[in-house]
Amino acid sequence: MLNFSKINIVSIYLIVFLISIFSILNFQTKDNIYFDKKVNLGLDLQGGSYLLLEINSDSLVEEKIQSKVIPIKKLLRDNNLNFTNFKINKQSLDLKVDDLKKFDLLFFSKKENLVNPYLDNYRSFELDYSSLEDNRVQIMFSKFGLLTINNAALKQSIEIVRRRIDDIGTKEPTILQRGEKRILVELPGLKDPERIKKLLGKTAQLNFRLVKENSEFGIDELISENGEKLKVSKRIIMSGENLIDAQPSIQNQQNQPTVSFTLDRLGAQKFGRTTTDNVGKRLAIVLDNKIISAPNINEPITSGNGMISGNFTFQEATDLALLLRSGALPTPLDIVEERTVGPDLGEDSIKSGLISLIVGFFLVILFMLYKYKIFGVIANTALIANLLMLIGILTILEATLTLPGIAGIILTVGMAVDANVLIFERIKEELKTEKSSIHAFDTGYSKAKITVLDANITTLIAAVILFAFGSGPVKGFAITLGIGIITTLFTAYFLARHLTSILVLKNKNREIKI
């Protein structure tokens, strides 16, 4: 165990050196084009916001099931299947059919079934039904039908969320899908997330509708921003989808902030026609089922440019313009988890983390020197190399360092010496019975090897599980702990062993004490 070939020695020190050198990169201040690698600081250290958003697809499912009403009725009529008691529920449709078997055949027909399409990727139909007593059935979305709706809504939501956040201009945001219904948003350096939360909390479904006492499409009674109750037609003249651009602007006469918008060709046509036909009437501008304003149509607007006025501050006008530019969310988003750390707390955490690392490190170093003297120097050399390599690997991986991650490094310092302690203690025992010190060191190393490996693998298992299940900061702890074990094994088995071999071979004729 004490024999090293030249090539072994060279590669050991080369690996230690090459990996350790990366740790220095963290201290460079200027941007280096060739080696621009650094340990990322987690949100708990640099400050920032972590938001977990969840799509709430209830209203979307409701809408989608309603859109099935007419096609289902048509399908049954076309096939001469009589039905009664048709009822529209929130998430399902009830009806009574004459012939259940025939209904089943029609409902689950794979050929040109537009009512209930077959989803090839899931091998399932979009809709499903359950039969109740006396030929009554209840139609709802199948599990995979719901999944398809959620998926589409989630993908679209992520896109809109990204646009909104990019538009605000925060630095390096992270926006990721989490599971089937959630979006993770990380905004480093953000001190107050309230504005972003507000912007993400709005679906921003904009539409233009005429104020009317009655309409063939039905009437909604909506409340406007200034508390006025207005009856508006259910017919949507034009929606936010027709907007190409929206910008905040100041109306010169009253110095009132407004949002001016530009419509696409189709939108401009629709808008032009409606405003031409309805001069003198009021047009309600509805955002998320609330009337922002309901101005009179004074003259036809055919240019495709318009303006939304309301009781805005300039900030509100800016935000509304941003929302309109980025488009509407398909469903409302709920913020199910939020964690925000202010930058000064982050700085404090880095400071106290580093202080405890330095103090812990020196305590361990001093203890090992006291306990093992010259072999303590070897163990400490291994420990320093260990620490540098750990930070080096974190740098190479550009891993995220969190406060618990720093704790993981300190813990590694405390536990890393264990490998060398195990070996030294074993050698001590061997020295009692063995005459030749070289022999004692040799058997000591080989006997302790398995124990060291066994003992460290158990901690590694814990770290891996923690990494798989942990979130955010805890993951950072798992990373440093796990990498720390690997560097510990390397430095104990190669570096410390080689240093020991130099010491032992130099003093082979003298008695060596540990």
């Binding site: 202010g342 405890s356 305590l363 704790a407 310092v413 264990d418 693998i457 158990t458 900061p473």
Partner: protein, 301 residues
């Protein structure tokens, strides 16, 4: 270091103590319960820094008027630093945090710095709890499996009993002291599992080696010998680990305090359990060199 301590003679009294404390811990966990933080219970947490003239009572008062449910205000580290926990009545109240902030800034009449704000919804918190329980169970199962592969089943049972002992007693102490259980405590518990296992494995390794070396002497004596032989290592490693942990506990700031406290407890209990829990179980199963020979096809180094 001191050697030849008769550990085996103390097994009985230690085991009685362990069993007693173990079941007391379970009783505490069941009846007093664990003090779950917002990670697992849901709610809002605000860490704020104020001018020193403000006390917890005035913060509590100004929040009580808001009628937002259970409020807990406590000092957090430095003078003037407070931690506020609000248990929400309604779910998904996105206005809550700005409202609380505004209320505090207005009524305290001084500069308030909101250093940290966390809000966990009820759905997420129950998921976090669930995945934490899964993670700990999985870690225990993985350890069980690893030891079963490397050793014989008796060792596997012994080590898992020791681990359960450590985890339950650590949580029991948290229950008695009403300390908060949050995600970082779960990380600590998992690390304790790893550390305690590490300690147990070192002693087991030696027991196995000595069982084959000294086939004539009883398992009690082999255990005693093995514990003594590895004792100085056990102590030195515990000391260095504790040195690191105490330095985190004292200097690492308020956020890491619970974590490092749990780890310190765990290291002490884990060291104890590998000597006084894991080893007696081998005696209980009457492990001898024959047990090892029966399973010789297994990997024995």
């Amino acid at each position: 270091m001191i050697e030849n301590i008769n550990f085996v003679s103390k097994f009985r009294i230690a085991n009685i103590a362990s069993i007693l404390i173990f079941f007391l811990s379970i009783l505490f966990i069941i009846f007093k319960g664990l003090n779950y933080g917002i990670d697992f219970k849901g709610g809002t947490l605000i860490e704020m820094r104020t001018e020193q003239s403000i006390n917890a009572a005035s913060i509590r008062e100004s929040l009580n008027s808001m009628n937002v449910g259970d409020i807990n205000v406590k000092k957090f580290g430095k003078e003037g630093d407070y931690l506020i926990k609000v248990e929400e009545k309604k779910k998904n109240n996105s206005e809550l945090i700005p409202q609380i902030k505004k209320n505090l800034s207005d009524s305290l009449n001084s500069d308030v710095d909101f250093r940290r704000v966390e809000n966990v919804g009820p759905k997420v918190s129950s998921e976090l709890l669930e995945s934490s329980i899964i993670a700990i169970s999985l870690a225990l199962a993985a350890m069980l499996f690893y030891i079963w592969v490397r050793f014989e089943w008796q060792f596997s049972v012994g080590s898992i009993v020791a681990l359960l002992h450590d985890v339950v007693i650590t949580l029991g102490i948290f229950s008695v002291l009403s300390l908060e259980i949050n995600l970082s405590i779960i990380a600590a518990v998992l690390t304790i599992v790893g550390y305690s296992m590490n300690d147990t494995v070192v002693i087991y390794d030696r027991i196995r080696e000595n069982l084959l070396k000294y086939t004539k002497i009883s398992i009690s004596d082999v255990a005693n010998l093995s514990i003594n032989e590895t004792l100085s290592r056990t102590i030195i490693t515990s000391i260095t680990t504790l040195l690191a942990l105490v330095s985190i506990y004292v200097l690492g700031g308020e956020i890491l305090r619970g974590f490092s406290f749990a780890m310190i407890l765990g290291v002490i209990i884990g060291t104890y359990s590998s000597i006084f829990v894991a080893s007696p179980i081998l005696k209980f199963f009457k492990v001898s060199y024959k047990t090892l020979e029966k399973e010789k096809e297994k990997i024995v180094p």
